[in-house]
């Protein structure tokens, strides 16, 4: 009996540890006191867990935009504020948070900052007639999610661009290594559909995997010309790149938008040289963009995931303008968003189509002489 109980304890402990490892720890920031003189919008983003490296800079950028809006008179004299909920990058927690801000806090608009969050919150928002405005949301699955669902980030075409580059540059044998998330898996699928050569290694790994050595051995034994790495969280991929160098694997490395951070060069040094990755195009010479980036970096240092972080800020300015123009009428705000065509924002020129999807250009970047530059 005692032995039986100890086995049950062991199984309980392991289940708990597995749960903890996937959810990390929860900080609940949503304790704001509701005020009549404040206009509240729900902010659903990852502040803990593996998605923090996306969610944290997004909220910082959004707060800069929020300050600008409020310094500019707010929404018809009311202060604009967020009710912030930590999603931990988990669909189940996002769905609960969406129900809470919509049904309890009664917000008419919610912001999300990843495909995982947008997909989880979209049905709840659509059913209640709440506008969902997503950034860093590139999954094709959101296009038909409903009338109230919008995004400032376009449907992902990173996979198509990587496949085209691989075809154009004549890479015959490749390895594709994908972190299992709703953001990265469609990119992998697009590469598999569009690449003309042979995929020798096609591995999907879990976000909490502590060791990637066997994947490196598979890549090495496959003698590939190029390795495509599709992470959501850079931690494992940086380790994988390091191990590829240690194992003397001399293949061209391609990546996705997660590579678009100075952290990569800072950590990998010369090993990052020559890496190519697909991301949204951001014109660094655009004065509006340059000015916002300068303000962000003045406070927080190098801006991570630049295009997506800037998208998180641009949707604040857009919604503030819409609420002012529409005198807070939500049907009017919805139409305002559908009517956006060629709008200059802090994340570039934005057009929103009849499905609520954004239309923007994707480009290839390369690390050259320790700097990330656009090559196409």
């Amino acid at each position: 009996m005692k032995k039986h109980n100890s086995r049950i304890q062991i199984i309980f402990i392991l289940l708990f540890l597995t749960l903890i490892s996937s959810t990390a720890c929860q900080i609940t920031p949503g304790d704001e006191t509701v005020s009549e003189s404040t206009y509240y919008i729900g902010w659903l983003g990852a502040l803990t867990g593996t998605g923090t490296q996306w969610g944290e800079p997004a909220l910082r950028a959004a707060n800069i935009a929020l300050d600008d809006v409020n310094n500019d008179g707010g929404i018809n004299g009311k202060e604009l504020a967020f009710i912030i909920e930590d999603t931990q990058s988990l669909g189940s927690i996002t769905a609960t948070a969406a129900k809470k801000v919509i049904e309890v806090d009664d917000v008419p608009i919610i912001f999300t900052h990843s495909s995982i969050e947008s997909l989880a919150a979209a049905p709840i928002a659509e059913q209640s007639g709440t506008i969902l405005f997503g950034s860093a949301t590139s999954t094709p699955d959101l296009t038909d999610a409903g009338d109230y669902i919008f995004r400032v980030t376009p449907v992902n075409r990173e996979g198509e661009l990587i496949a085209k580059t691989l075809n154009d540059e004549g890479y015959d044998k490749i390895a594709v290594i994908t972190e299992q998330t709703k953001y990265t898996t469609p990119i992998r699928d697009a590469i598999v559909r569009n690449y003309n050569g042979e995929i020798i290694v096609d591995e999907i790994f879990l976000s909490d995997d502590v060791d990637v050595r066997t994947i490196v051995t598979k890549i090495k034994s496959g003698e590939v010309d190029a390795v495509v790495l599709l992470p959501f969280d850079l931690t494992r991929i940086m380790q994988l790149i390091q191990m590829l160098k240690e194992q003397d694997v001399d293949a061209q490395i391609f990546g996705n938008a997660a590579f678009n951070t100075g952290e990569l060069i800072e950590s990998l040094g010369d090993s990052a040289e020559g890496m190519k990755f697909a991301t949204l195009f951001i014109d660094d010479n655009d004065p509006k963009i340059a000015s916002f980036v300068q303000r962000y970096e003045g406070v927080y240092g190098p801006i991570p995931n630049k295009a997506h972080t800037l998208d998180a800020a641009s949707k604040i300015y857009i919604i503030a303008d819409a609420l002012r123009d529409c005198n807070e009428d939500i049907s009017c705000v919805k139409q305002y968003l559908y009517d956006i065509k060629g709008l200059e924002t802090v994340s570039g020129t934005l057009t929103i189509d009849e499905n609520g999807d954004a239309d923007k250009k994707f480009s290839l970047k390369e690390v050259q002489n320790g700097e990330i530059i656009f090559t196409s």
């Binding site: 032995k3 100890s6 086995r7 062991i10 199984i11 402990i13 392991l14 708990f16 540890l17 597995t18 903890i20 490892s21 990390a24 720890c25 900080i27 803990t48 867990g49 593996t50 923090t52 490296q53 944290e56 299992q180 591995e203 999907i204 790994f205 879990l206 909490d208 995997d209 502590v210 060791d211 990637v212 050595r213 066997t214 994947i215 051995t217 598979k218 090495k220 034994s221 969280d233 850079l234 931690t235 494992r236 940086m238 380790q239 390091q242 160098k245 240690e246 194992q247 003397d248 952290e263 950590s267 990998l268 040094g269 010369d270 090993s271 991570p304």
Partner: protein, 295 residues
Amino acid sequence: MILSIFIQLLINSLVVGAIYALVASGFSLIYSVNKFVHFAHGATIAFSAYFLYYLFSVLGLNFGFSIVITVIFSSLFGYGMNYFVYGQLRKNKTSSVMLLVGSLGLLILIESLTLILFGSNAKRIGLMNISKGIELGGAFITPLQIVIIIVSILLLVGLFVFTKKTKLGISMRAVSDNESVAEIVGISSKRIYSWSFIIGSALSGVAAILIGLEHNLGPTMGTNLMIRGFVATIIGGIGSVYGAIFGAFLLGIVETFGVWYIPSAYKDAIVFSLLLIFLLFRPDGILGHRRKEVK
């Protein structure tokens, strides 16, 4: 499978096993004396690794000095957890289940603290430049990986000598076997609890240094390592420190060779299948049976 790949997988297994052994040894030592699962051990490793990152990469202190301070810090950190949390719970005569709940609280607290202090982005200690490893029969191994394997083996030997030959080690075994009898012969179990945390956490400091140099740092890395360390401890025989180290190497071998044949996404399935096999057919683990015979 060609020979060079087999050698590479074997090297990978040893490195992974050595890392798990570093985690499992300290964890198992604390468990064997205190008789509760110290969940926060993994978080101690992660926090100590960040501490080293702060000393060496942020403050720019000498590396030798930084690692000594890191081991001292992790020992004191473990001692502090025992004194301020578990000690207080024991004073109130709480059950081992409550101690376990306390350790869960500590785990979450330390992970949150790490996130607040160091942020969510991956960190790299960056002592050595990334370069080609040493070639060995067509396979590659880096000098750091050799150090990790050697340190783990030395730990195995050191812990064996410590528990068999030193007065403190023998006292620990006595408290581990029967606390009441140990008290009768004059061994203070309270003192031994403290020492188990000091030594177990010092081992976590060593683990933090080597894992921190080999891997990138992330705030939740401790929990993921803890799962492996915990499984290794059960496979090796819960309560047996050297069993945990053997269990860690076995886990490393099964996991690495398993993932060669099936996709990486099923790695956890391999780990938990191995655990299930042991729970069903050898619940006392590899060395657990032998320990029972000694009794």
